[in-house]
Each structure stands twice: as C-alpha cells, then as structure tokens.
C-alpha cells in the first residue's frame, strides 16, 4: 500500500496500538531547554523516575540566558538563574549530555540540533517547545510537546499518541529574487489561516520547496506551528544528505553509507494519499510583513492594513489587533516608522540569514534612534559570522552583536523593547506583548528587517539593493 513519509516513520516507530485508537510510539531523540526542561527533569526526579535512555536525550541553555556579552548564570529575568541551575543539575543527575552556556555547541535548540547532526532523517524527535517542527526540514518526525509529555518520553522512550492526519502543501513555481522562505511561510499562514494545519502532519512538497536550501527549509517548517499543525516534514534529498555529512553526531563510515541508503528511500510514495491537499504558487509571494497580533494578519510589503474581518478572522479580533498595534485600516505597511529592529530567533538566525542581512547593511547605517539587535542562533553561527567579518558589518551599521540564545524573540530572558515600541522582527510570533509588555511586533524576513533598520521605516529589501 502506498504510504507517505510520515506513515513510514510512524509505522517503523509504532510499538503497539491501543484499543482506544492511540499508538505507543518510540522516541529517538529528546531535546530539553532550561525554560521547560528543568521542570520536567525536576518533576521526574521528585517522583523517583529514571531516564530510560539518557544517551538519547540532550539539554541546552537557550531560552532565558542573557545574550549580552560577558554573560553568566545571571539573567535579566528575575529568578531566571533558578531555571538555568535546575536544568544543569537535573541534566547532570540524569546523565544527559548538556550543552551549557560556555559550550561551543550551545545555541537555540532548533538551530544547534541540526547543526550538530542530532536530527537525522527518519528519526522521531520531541522537545518541549512548539517550534520543534523546524527539524522536520531534515526529514525527521519532530514535534513540540509539553513538560509532562517530556517526562513521559524521558521515563519511557515513548509517547502515547493518536495518529495525526496528513496534509500535503505543494508549493510550485519559483520564489522571486529577494523573496525568502520566511516570506513563503508568512504567505502560507496568511492565505490559509492560523487554524489551517489543525493537528495535521504537513508535508511541504513541490518544486519551490525542493529548491530551498536546508536552512531555508528549517525556516519554512519552523512556522508550521503557527498554523496549528502537529508538525511539518520535508522528504530528505541530496541537499539534506550533503548538509549532514561530517556533522558531529551524524553517522560516519559504514554506518553513514547504510543510513544514506535508507534516507534515499524515505519519501512519500507517488500515489500516497493525504487527508488534505493544498496548493500554492510561489510566484505569488512578495516580501511579507505582518500588521496585527496573529501571524495570519500579514500582507505583502506594498500592501495596506485591511479592514477588520477581511481574511483575518472575526471583526472583533481584527479590531482588537488594530487597537493594540495602533493602526487604522488602509495604512500602507511600507514607510510605517519603526522604533526597533531584531534579527534572531529559531526562525531566522542561521548563518545564511545573517549573510543576507549583512549584504544589505554593508556600508550603510541604521537610522537614528532605532534600537537594532542581532542575535546569532548558535555559538557556532556567531563564530562562523565573525570568521567571515559579518559582525563588523552589523556593528558598524549600528546593530548590537550578541551571544546566541532566544533573546528578545519573546523576552523570556527579561529584556524587552519599550512599551508600544514598533519592532520589525525576524521572529515567528507577533502576539500581544511577545517582545515585551505592549510591544508591537511586525514579522518579516531578515532582509526586510535590515532594510527597515536602515530606513527607520518598514522598507522593501528589494528597493535597497
């Protein structure tokens, strides 16, 4: 029978099926971070449980760590140090490999784990973080869970789950120059809505997806959670195999050859049937920017704030978003003055993101009065960028250059932009107060953030070059 890539991974990890319709699924990788992982480890220890397979679980510090240079366990978040220490102690006591603050492999969990080859095609991977769907870009079945499910996965190497339905999103055509995976991700959630993925495993397919490099695929899959998807996945191809070769935790030698042979067979069968199908033309995508407080409230950069209720959910939600964002319908997004610019987050902080932003910033200055911050996604990305001289470009343009971490993507580290500050941001969420109390976040690609920082207003990156 024809099967999807999801079916193949699920079936090879299904230990048992319960009478109620749920399955017991083997989990190959558990990733933890200090924001939610510490609680899971602490609760597990308090209940006298052991981690069944400690060598398959990894912990990293990313969420509330300070990203200012010279950081220590102290963070701007009151009591943040407790989370860092609890995770460190919990990971050590349980025998997990910990990537601590000073480890050269430290970074945002969804950035450092592909970088180290901790994510492999065909694996099941969970992390108590909603953006775990990013890792589906490498052909793994990777999804976000809560802390209690993390405890379950640690104690049993399994999760009990109902088999999720599947949805294929086929994106054909080519993205226009200056248009990126982030714009595609925003265009998809804008077109289909924040409920469109509802519990599905979304397989991204089509020529536009195949044309994306691995980093761009990570960005695309990262945003799947913003459409309420269970997770996202892209069949592994030669680009993924090339990406993984030689990575620290990737197999080598004969094991590599066997793995590659298996990965090459890991794709949905031609006649596989999905529960839902959506199609999208990549040629329609322009640089996108959000205007509201939900990622679906997004328009092309030359667009205007729509009337409430037009394609963005209810009137009431639209009115609320407008009031929060301090905008009125009909206002063009381009040329809207900004207060701050942020490049970072698990969505857009990889080396390619930094290179593209730096290309726009090179020889230019951030507009007066704009607070501009760049936070590399991992220590390795930061070091690579510094080796290429990108840090100097960011710094001389007027950006702050930080240590890696989640940082002001959601101010869990305690640092925030000013109340009502209008921030152009390469992050994934524009929820109320996401980047600090009262902040107004406009989601965009790193290029658009860089172009806007220079202009002091929301700006189309295609017009800067």
């Amino acid at each position: 029978m024809s099967r999807t890539i999801f079916d193949k991974i699920w079936d090879s990890h299904r230990i048992a099926s319960n009478a109620g319709g749920g399955d017991l699924i083997l989990i190959d990788r558990i990733l933890l971070h200090e924001r939610t992982g510490g609680v899971a480890l602490k609760s597990l220890a308090e209940r006298g449980r052991r981690v069944l397979a400690p060598d398959q679980a990894f912990a990293v510090m990313d969420h509330i760590v300070d990203t200012r240079p010279g950081r220590t366990d102290r963070t701007l978040m009151p009591t943040g140090t407790d989370f860092i220490r609890a995770t460190r102690e919990g990971a050590r006591a349980a025998g997990l490999r910990l990537f601590d603050l000073d480890d050269p492999a430290q970074g945002i969990v969804h950035v450092m784990s592909p970088e180290l080859g901790l994510v492999l095609p065909g694996a099941t991977l969970v992390c108590p973080d909603s953006h775990t769907c990013s890792q589906g870009a490498l052909g793994a079945l990777a999804w976000g869970i809560g802390s209690t499910e993390a405890e379950h996965a640690l104690a049993t190497s399994t999760l009990r789950l109902r088999r999720p339905p599947t949805m294929r999103v086929t994106v054909d055509g080519a993205l226009a120059p200056g248009v990126t995976a982030k714009d595609l991700a925003l265009a998809l959630v804008g077109r289909f809505g924040v409920g469109s993925g509802k519990g599905h495993v979304v397989e991204y397919a089509g020529s536009a997806v195949r044309a994306l490099d691995v980093e761009s695929r990570l960005t695309l899959c990262n945003m799947a959670t913003e459409s309420a998807a269970f997770t996202a996945i892209i069949a592994p191809d030669e680009a993924v195999i090339d990406y993984l070769k030689g990575r620290r935790f990737a197999p080598s030698g004969e094991a590599w050859d066997r793995a590659v042979e298996s990965w090459r067979a890991l794709a949905s069968d031609d006649d596989a049937v999905f529960d839902r199908e959506l199609a999208f033309d990549a040629r329609e995508v322009a640089p996108m920017v959000s205007w509201g407080t939900s990622p679906q409230q997004v328009v092309p950069i030359d667009g205007a704030v729509p009337e409430p209720g037009v394609g963005q959910g209810s009137d009431e939600n639209g009115q609320r978003a407008l009031a929060y964002m301090g905008l009125t319908p009909g206002t063009p997004l381009a040329d809207l003055p900004i207060d701050a610019a942020f490049i970072g987050s698990c969505t857009n902080s990889r080396i390619g993101d930094l290179r593209r932003a730096a290309a726009l910033l090179d020889g230019r200055k951030v507009a007066a009065g704009i607070k501009a911050i760049c936070v590399p996604g991992s220590t390795q990305v930061k070091q690579q960028a510094e080796a290429e001289g990108l840090d100097k470009i960011f710094l001389s343009a007027g950006f702050e250059w930080r240590e890696s971490g989640c940082s002001m993507c959601f101010y869990a580290g305690g640092e925030s932009f000013a109340p009502q500050a209008r921030v152009i941001s390469s992050t994934n969420r524009n929820f109320e107060s996401r980047q600090g109390p009262g902040t107004r976040t406009h989601l965009a690609s790193p290029e658009t953030v860089a172009a806007s920082a220079i202009a002091g207003r929301i700006a189309d990156p295609r017009k800067v070059a």
Binding site: G38, G146, R160, G195, R258
Partner: protein, 213 residues
C-alpha cells in the same frame, strides 16, 4: 491524577479566537521552576490594570464577583496556540479550571490539558457561541460537563454532545498516571527498541560513540 467524571460549575466566557499561551500565562509570570504558584499570573496581561501589577481590571471576566469559583472556561477557536509552555495549563488548573469548551484547540495545549486532568471539550462554533451567550446573560448558570456521556448540559435542560479523543477521555476518567501505565509495557518497549536499533543503528551508535569522547 484526579479522575474526571462529571463536573457542574459556573463558567467563564472568553470568546476571543486564537488565545495564545503567552496570554494565558505571560512569560514574566513563570517565576519558579515548579508547576505551582502560577494561578495569580493566569491571564495577567488582561486581568490586571498594570503589567506585573495585581490591581484587578473590573472589565475582565475573571474579576467578575459573580463568577468566583468558576471551573469551566468557554473560549474561541484555536485556544492555547503559540508556545508549548505547559505552565498555561498548570495556571488554569491551579486557578480551578477543570474543563475548557472551545471550537478547537492547539494540539500541544490539548495534549497538555489531558496530561493534567483538564477536559478539552470541542463543540461546534455556533454552539460554543450560544453557550457563551447564555452564560454571559446568566453568570450564575451552572454548566455540566459529563465526560462519560460526552455531554455539555446547562441548567435549563439543553444539552449537546461534545467531541474528545477517546484515549484522552479514557485516561481522564481513569485518572491513571500515564508513565505508570506505559511502564507496564517496559519489556515490550525495550525489545522493540533493540529491533529498531538493529534496523537503524545510526540513530543510536554515533551518539554513544561521541558521548565517550
């Protein structure tokens, strides 16, 4: 975990769509490495007049004296979207909420509810709105969530069947610790894992080799 069978209580109507977990419990309110001490931070951004303050905003439903002791939340579509933070469910549970009625839930939030003994009850959009309107008009109205019967009832006799995953329903009714339940199959898990390791050794060996460095 406390088993859930039938709950009769007053309800809180909060009819916004896409209420995210940042709104349910803002990051700044997650102060301790614990599942407790979160109830005061529930909906803090909407509940209090000032960020970080505790002066209640009388316009917010949680501050309505008539709804003190409410244990059921009625909400808009895609409830619990955003961050996977389970603190959102812990805060709701500590506040006293044991059932949430909405047209749809974000998947991670929904699983977190079940893991903590909260019923995520799905009713069609129009019925949720009708129920919310009834409760808006009658703050003292008692709503019953009957999990074995999969029914929501109101005191005027109206009742509707709600949707819930059968496994989730069984586990909520049993109140069984899920880890205990799974570990009954520990031998089967270990045997399956050994076979899986034979088939895809690269998912195991390289990690172990590296750990020895």
């Amino acid at each position: 975990m406390e088993p859930f069978t039938t709950l009769s209580a007053t309800a809180l109507p909060l009819m916004r769509d896409n209420i995210d977990t940042d709104a349910i419990i803002p990051s700044r309110e997650m102060r301790t490495v614990s599942k407790r001490g979160l109830a005061d931070g529930l909906f803090a951004g909407w509940r209090y007049r000032e960020i970080g303050g505790r002066d209640p905003d009388p316009g917010f439903v949680l501050n309505d004296p008539a709804r003190k002791g409410a244990r059921i939340l009625i909400a808009g579509a895609n409830f619990g979207c955003g961050s996977s933070r389970e603190h959102a469910v812990w805060a709701l549970a500590e506040y006293g909420i044991r059932a949430i009625i909405a047209p749809s839930f974000a998947p991670i939030f929904q699983a977190n509810c079940v893991a903590n003994g909260l019923v995520p009850a799905i009713l069609p959009h129009d019925l949720v709105h009708a129920l919310a309107a009834h409760v808006e008009r009658h703050p003292a109205a008692v709503v019953t969530v009957d999990l074995p019967a999969r029914e929501v009832k109101i005191d005027d006799g109206a009742h509707w069947a709600f949707e819930i995953d059968p496994e989730a329903r069984a586990s909520l009714i049993a109140g069984l610790d899920p880890i205990d339940r799974t570990l009954r199959a520990e031998d089967q898990i270990r045997a399956f894992r050994e076979e899986h390791r034979r088939q895809q050794p690269w998912l195991y060996a390289p990690v172990e080799a590296d750990a020895g460095r």
